[in-house]
Amino acid sequence: MPTFTYDGKTIPFEPGETIIKAAYRQGIEIPHYCWHPGLSAPANCRMCLVEIAPAAGQRAMMLDVLEWDASLNDYRPRQKPKLQPACQIPAAEGMQVKGDSSDNVKEARKGVQEFLLLNHPVDCPICDQSGECKLQDYWLEHGQYQKRMRDEPIHKPKAVRFGPSIVYDGERCVMCTRCIRFMDEVAKDPVLDMRERGNLNEIFVAPGRELTGHYTFMTEHVCPVGALTTVDFRFKARVWFLRTAKTVCQGCATGCNAHLDYDPRYNKVYRYRPRDNEQVNAYWMCDEGMLSYKRAHEDRVVDPYVKGSVSAMKKALAEAKSYFEAVPGETIAVVLSAQHSLEDNWALRELAGAYLGTRAIYATGLPEGYHDTILIHEDKNPNTRGVLELAPGVRPFSSLLDDIEAGRVTHVIALGGETPADASAELGPRAKNALERLQALVTIAAHDGLLARAAHVLLPAASWAEASGTYVNAKGIHQVTEKAIEPQGVSEPGWKLVADVGQALGYDTSWTKLKQVRARLTSAPTVPDAAAVSPSRPQVTP
């Protein structure tokens, strides 16, 4: 691999890569506003200017400048090397690039910073970006001056509604055009553009249009300052109180890598942020996914229920035991859930195969929905592949209904409340009637749904935000989520509840730690990082 040096550090690059991208991949950040690894490089913020030594035998490009000399009390001519934007210059073999080590670059950065802040209102107390704002960060790093402009700053429209989800503040905008380029290049819907000139520049929406679609939240995410804010997160929290857990979006089978931002003081989840992973979602997430963090608190099952009324865990387990006394194994069915993690499903399959001796394994999940060619998958379950890997012969939910109606299945232990029949008008009543015919339905669910509502005994499982779990996306990549908030109510991880149910039924379901579950789930070591790909498949015990 060819290399160049940046501030004396050797950086390998692939031919054709720009300086900033090669440095970014090595974890070296050249300050920038308008460059984004997933977008084109317009070089209009001038923050990433670097000094590049001329090639051998070439003269350096120089600029004639007049510099104020206090001792002469006059200007004197001086020459300065001409700086170049690192986001535009392709790296070349042996190139010597100077960033922090060059005084000219430092001066330029300070100048750019001052220029960008000339008309920028110091709205930080109100602005939702404060705490994660590039202007703040770079001012501390490269600025640290007092404002010199004494004129009234330019005033632009504030609080402009771009669409149902995004609000724009013209005065805070630094015209990096990232949002415009995102809508053009990634969302393929060129609805944003820039108008006016110079310091009257502002972003606007195409006349007659609103900023709508499935990728509006990303415009806010790429905005390096507080110009674009989402209606959903606006004024809700301050980012320095939030803690972050690496997680995987539960919205569909794409399994986008995300950061889940939560406030540990209130045990509340506030937002998703996409996490870079070239193999899965690059740098993006869809709107539905960005909003699906709400599922950590909405429609949750947080208490055990016995026949629809709140109960205690011990009582609910004793109740579950009473249903299954002297029941032959072949009438018991287990229902795995594509909404739950691999560990939860493994535990239930283990209970079914090794202890109950049942062969009837079914799967539920949400029905298919909208999909596109960018990120959104038609399968709305995060772990369908995982369920199929665990139980290759798994039968769909509709055949469970058939078997119940035929009387082949009378006792069910189910995982996950959601079924494909939840929202469907034709399948819903049928499923409801079928589930009511069951003699026993024990459901271990994190979210509400038909299976949760029809359950004789309902046990509260922890959602993906409250327990670490493995999810297998549509590409077959095993991804591990981190635990974010503490379990709500008395909910516990699903695999633990399965073990409790097993023990209540009189079996020695002995797994009590996630480590044990993972060790038995796969022969290979568990994937420590969600971004890593595990080629190993969980071994299915016949």
Binding site: V122, C124, P125, I126, S130, E152, I154, H155, K156, P157, K158, A159, V160, V167, E196, L200, F204, R234, F235, K236, R238, W240, F241
Partner: protein
């Protein structure tokens, strides 16, 4: 065996030395002259106090501690004035229309070492001219029992919205919940000169002084 004294007497410091040793003189040995000296001091104070009380001329309570004369005041009818920078109970400053200047940025509760400030931010209701521009505190609670009166919240406030210039010190209440100061109470507190505003005027959206949007066509 000697009985141990409790509490244990600390060892005498080995670097101690006698500062002054007054030899007893016949004058002190006789005892009576010293008695009369002491009585004279007491009587001097008594007569001066009585004279000042009758003439109703109290010395300046600020300088009285270094001035000659009495060193007591009749608290709480008389109070020593607190110095200019005394940090008293908090108040929330108001804008001209009586709404809080606070924009619920949570800088004060972030800076608070005692973690005694709780704020819940919210958007101005529909129809308010500040809607969309600013946030406001839906709830603003200070637990004055936890507060250590360090003034960091005032330092941190970027909007001059919280101040400690009421000149009041914490009042002894008879139940703990009375120390929980809420937004309406904090807004009702006035500064020492009786004002609710701050000395820092500000642009308001829709103000006469606000130049408005610079370009001509306003439609967006």
């Amino acid at each position: 065996m000697a009985t141990a004294t409790f509490p244990k007497k600390p060892p005498s410091p080995n670097n101690a030395y006698v500062v002054a040793h007054v030899e007893p003189t016949p004058a002190t040995q006789v005892y009576l002259p010293e008695i009369f000296k002491g009585l004279a001091v007491a009587m001097k104070h008594f007569f001066r106090n009585t004279k000042e009380m009758v003439r109703n001329e109290r010395p300046d309570p600020v300088t009285e501690s270094i001035a000659k004369g009495i060193t007591t005041i009749s608290y709480p009818e008389q109070k020593r004035p607190y110095p200019e920078r005394f940090r008293g109970l908090h108040r929330l400053t108001q804008r001209d229309d009586g709404s809080p200047r606070c924009v619920a940025c949570l800088c004060c509760s972030t800076a608070c070492p005692a973690q005694c400030i709780f704020i819940e931010a919210g958007e101005y209701p529909e129809g308010d001219p500040r809607r969309g521009y600013e946030r406001y505190p839906v709830k603003f609670v200070i637990d004055e029992l936890r507060c250590i009166f360090c003034g960091y919240c005032v330092e941190a406030c970027p909007c001059d919205a919280i101040r400690m210039d009421t000149g009041l010190h914490a009042v002894p209440y008879d139940s703990r919940d009375q120390f929980i100061y809420r937004k309406d109470l904090l807004l009702a507190q006035a500064s020492r000169d009786g004002s609710h505003l701050t000395a820092n005027p500000r642009h308001e959206p829709g103000d006469e002084t606000h130049p408005g949007v610079t370009r001509e066509h306003m439609t967006h």
